[in-house]
């Protein structure tokens, strides 16, 4: 049976190690707010970020992902959005029609994806989900477009531990899970029903052909509320941070080439979200990475500039702040930016040449004041937090 979700496949890699990606974006919730609201799902807001996020992630894999030992073997994509626009792979013709991200289509697509994962021991699996997520205690579920239907109730969701546990039986040695979830008060659903979500695929124990332990790395940031999750029709904060991480913030050149491992990506994503969102919008009480096993993910060309992320320790001083960057010893022209000119909610990003720089901020009104900081830019990314003092 044909895989309707498959948008890319390199069949020449069917017997060599390859990376197989499965992307799920859910922006339209058929039983959520302003739709056919049900008791279970009626509180779920419709989201515009997932479609943009999922497309951005797919584009990156198709055009920039570079892992010579495990190149891109396939990419499958399911998407539910308010007005279906399909997906146009970069550089190709008319848009491809994508299956909806409901439980039936997801199960079919997941089954095909799992079959591809079994083709070689050294395959790498990547699963990216963007949409509503619920989590309580140690359980988590990723909500699909038909979640909360009157017939299937809580079944229209991916029970995450079941997915992850089953994939421990998969042949693919390395597995990365990117859970880009909008967290809302829907977590309370678990108080009524502790079993939310379905098993979307089955790989019996004993299916692994070799004795290695499957290495799984899960990124599951906890970002509170729809606004912190992502702005209208733009990729989410997590998707943007993940792409920044793999493009420049994570890779290091310890072994020669600039390589990003999953551990470096996790740390970079952590930092980038920390700088993009005020701490109050990130739950401090739930771990970010459910499991963080280290393996190489991708590589980049040597970077030629440094991106500096500058923020303030007090978000209430942010909106009217003006940030300044001054090269010590004349390493480059001074740069300045107002907070309201930034695309980010809580930081400004500057492209600066390497060297020593002094970062400062003028706040309005004063007091308070921001203490300037000097920093040596020698890596592709630098993070600077200016302390706001009385």
């Amino acid at each position: 049976m044909q895989d309707e979700a498959l948008v890319f496949e390199n069949q020449s890699l069917s017997s060599t190690p390859a990376t197989h990606v499965f992307i799920v974006g859910v922006g339209r919730y058929d039983f959520g707010r302003d739709k056919n609201e049900t008791l279970i799902a009626g509180d779920l807001a419709q989201l515009s970020s997932p479609a943009e996020s999922a497309r951005a992630i797919a584009n990156w894999f198709l055009t920039e992902f570079d892992n010579p030992d495990c190149p891109l073997g396939s990419l499958s994509f399911c998407l539910s959005e308010e007005s279906a626009q399909g997906y146009t792979p970069p550089g190709s013709g008319p848009p491809l029609t994508l299956p909806e991200a409901d439980i039936a289509a997801i199960k079919k697509a997941a089954g095909h994806w799992a079959n591809r994962l079994q083709s070689h021991d050294e395959n790498m699996a990547v699963f990216y989900f963007c949409g509503h997520g619920v989590s309580l205690g140690q359980k988590a579920a990723l909500l699909l477009s038909d979640f909360g239907s009157s017939t299937d109730g809580y079944d229209g969701a991916i029970e995450f531990d079941k997915l992850r546990g089953t994939l421990k039986n998969a042949t693919a040695d390395r597995q990365l899970f990117l859970l880009d979830c909008c967290r809302t008060r829907a977590d309370g659903l678990y108080r009524n029903e502790p079993d939310i979500g379905s098993r979307i695929l089955s790989i019996p124990p004993g299916s692994r052909r070799h004795g290695d332990v499957a290495r799984q790395c899960i990124l599951f940031p906890t970002i509170e509320g729809e606004m912190a999750f992502g702005q209208q029709n733009r990729p989410s904060v997590f998707a943007t941070s993940f792409l920044d991480a793999v493009r420049f913030a994570a890779p290091e050149d310890q072994t020669g080439p600039w390589i990003a491992t999953t551990s470096l990506i996790l740390n970079a994503v952590d930092r980038l979200i920390e700088y993009r969102l005020p701490a109050e919008m990130r739950s401090k009480t739930v771990p970010n990475a459910l499991e963080a096993t280290n393996f190489e993910f991708n590589q980049i060309d040597p970077p030629t500039s440094t991106k500096s992320f500058i923020t303030l320790s007090d978000p209430s001083a942010w909106p009217d702040a003006e940030l300044d960057c001054l090269a010590v010893n004349g390493g480059g022209p001074a740069q300045s930016k107002r907070a309201d000119q930034s695309d980010e909610m809580a930081c400004c990003v500057f492209d600066l040449p390497p060297g020593e720089w002094e970062f400062s901020a003028t706040l309005n009104p004063q007091p308070p004041h921001a203490a300037p900081v000097k920093r040596t830019l020698a890596r592709p990314v630098t993070y600077v937090r200016l302390d706001v003092l009385p």
């Binding site: 205690g137 140690q138 421990k168 108080r191 070799h210 702005q231 290091e252 739950s283 009480t285 909106p319």
Partner: protein
């Protein structure tokens, strides 16, 4: 020799963590002011000293041997919260000493809780509101509104913070029946018995209990109880496995690791700490203020515990060899140091970070841990999870089921191993059996803290 000596200090804290934080050093610029590629870097665990420790000023620094002079970046990673960054200039042939003070808690009695990141850095009572800029874009205004609504929620929680909770000792049904209790959605346990604990230290945000620790004889009895012996009544009364923190009907059921030190006496600055956060919510119910946090102040294992609890497993893996080099989990198992609970923690880290196929030298003592302590659910679960890793699915299933039948785990991470193990076995019936309880276990703490329903 060119080097850097690093000392981290936690203000307003007593004692120390011999392996507390992770420090990363990077050579940013060589002695000639030029970048050196590839960039040299080294990552190492470092000790954290409490500023109130008598021996702190004379305490050893952590020594880094550097490849050259130049400008180095220092990044300090703590169990939770943002990294601390510094830059230092090192002269060739000189060893520089650097003392870094960690953020100070506004609550004088919560120094180590400040370090582990379970308390806030700034007082919650500060009123905050982000003004909307006159020329802001639509997206910026929406973002500010969202942030202000978060502040309003925080302020609302603070204003509704309750009194100091009553503390009871509690019991659950024995062994595997305890799971059934939660499966039937019945939250009533045996009638709790109020404790006569001394009054906690408290202020408008927190309460902290510092209970008396078991002595050597008590420790021996607690370890024997994990072996399946009957715990003497007086020990049971003074050191109940389960404690209930009840604030106006909102109840946290806490598994207290009294046997952590086994037959070894903790040092004066060490012990179990029970903190009640009156203003902040539990991850299990973010709409109501109040949350109980259990921590173990252990100079060797305390840092590792907190990194595991916060999910920073990569850093936990960095700390583990140093911790095990001072007190191996195997020694704990054999009673040579601490008790079997520290052996469980060691096993959790080893199993979670294991990548090599085939048996390891610690697989045998993992089996001993499971066999020698039949009243310790975590040992059997750990072994079961490990057997699945080794491809021994039938034996793994048997051990997971055995762990289930032993009762509720001591460690929150053990619940995850049960869930993942049964998920891998595609045993949906077992998953259903444990699902209700797993939605109520606080995932951000090392030990089991269960939020019971009936909270208002």
């Amino acid at each position: 020799m060119t080097g850097l000596q690093l000392k981290l200090v936690q203000p307003l804290a007593e004692g120390r963590l011999e392996v507390g934080a992770v420090a990363e050093l990077r050579l940013l610029l060589g002695a000639d002011g030029q970048q050196v590629r590839p960039m040299w870097h080294e990552t190492r665990p470092v000790a954290v000293w409490g500023s109130d420790s008598p021996e702190y000023e004379g305490a050893d620094f952590t020594q880094f041997d550097l490849p050259s002079g130049g400008r180095y970046g220092i990044t300090i990673r703590l169990p939770r919260g943002g990294d601390i960054e510094r830059e230092v200039d090192i002269v060739p042939g000189v060893t520089r000493s650097e003392i870094i003070d960690l953020p100070v808690s506004p609550h004088e009695y919560l120094g180590w809780q400040q370090f582990s990141g379970v308390v806030r850095n700034d007082p919650n009572r500060r009123v905050r509101n982000v003004p909307e800029p006159a020329g802001g874009t639509f997206d910026q205004l929406v973002s500010i509104k969202a942030l202000n609504s978060v502040y309003e929620h925080e302020a609302d929680l603070f204003n509704r913070r309750g009194d100091i909770p009553a503390v009871f000792s509690s019991e659950l049904p024995v062994a595997g029946d305890a799971w059934q209790l939660f499966s039937d959605t019945i939250d009533e346990t045996a009638p709790p018995v109020i404790t006569d604990w001394q009054n906690p230290i408290f202020d408008e945000e927190y309460c902290l209990w510092t209970p008396t620790m078991p002595n050597e004889e008590d420790g021996w009895n607690l370890v024997q109880a994990l072996r399946g012996d009957q715990l003497p009544d007086d020990v049971q009364q003074r050191f109940p496995r389960w404690m209930l923190f009840d604030r106006q009907g909102q109840r946290d059921l806490v598994s207290v690791p009294w046997g952590w030190w086994g037959m070894v006496l903790p040092q004066p600055s060490e012990g179990i700490r029970l903190l009640y956060d009156r203003a902040n919510p539990s991850p299990i119910n973010r709409e109501q203020p109040g949350r109980t946090v259990v921590s173990v102040q252990d100079r060797r294992w305390g840092g590792l515990l907190e990194f595991v609890a916060s999910g920073r497993l990569e850093e936990a893996g960095e700390l583990a060899p140093d911790v095990f080099g001072r007190e191996s989990p195997e020694d704990a198992l054999y009673g040579k140091s601490k008790g079997p609970l520290s052996a469980v923690l060691g096993g959790l880290v080893l199993v979670s970070t294991s990548r090599d196929p085939g048996l390891q030298h610690w697989d045998q003592w993992l089996e001993n841990l499971a066999n020698w302590f039949p009243a310790l659910p975590d040992g059997a679960v750990l072994l079961g999870f490990r057997l699945l890793q080794l491809g021994q699915y039938d034996e793994g299933r048997a051990r997971l089921e055995e762990g289930l039948n032993r009762g509720i785990p001591y460690f929150a991470a053990t619940f995850r191993m049960l869930t993942l193990g049964f998920s891998q076995l595609e045993d949906d019936a077992a998953l259903k059996h444990i699902s209700r309880l797993t939605t109520r276990v606080d995932p951000s703490q090392p030990f089991t803290v269960i939020r019971l329903s009936g909270s208002n």
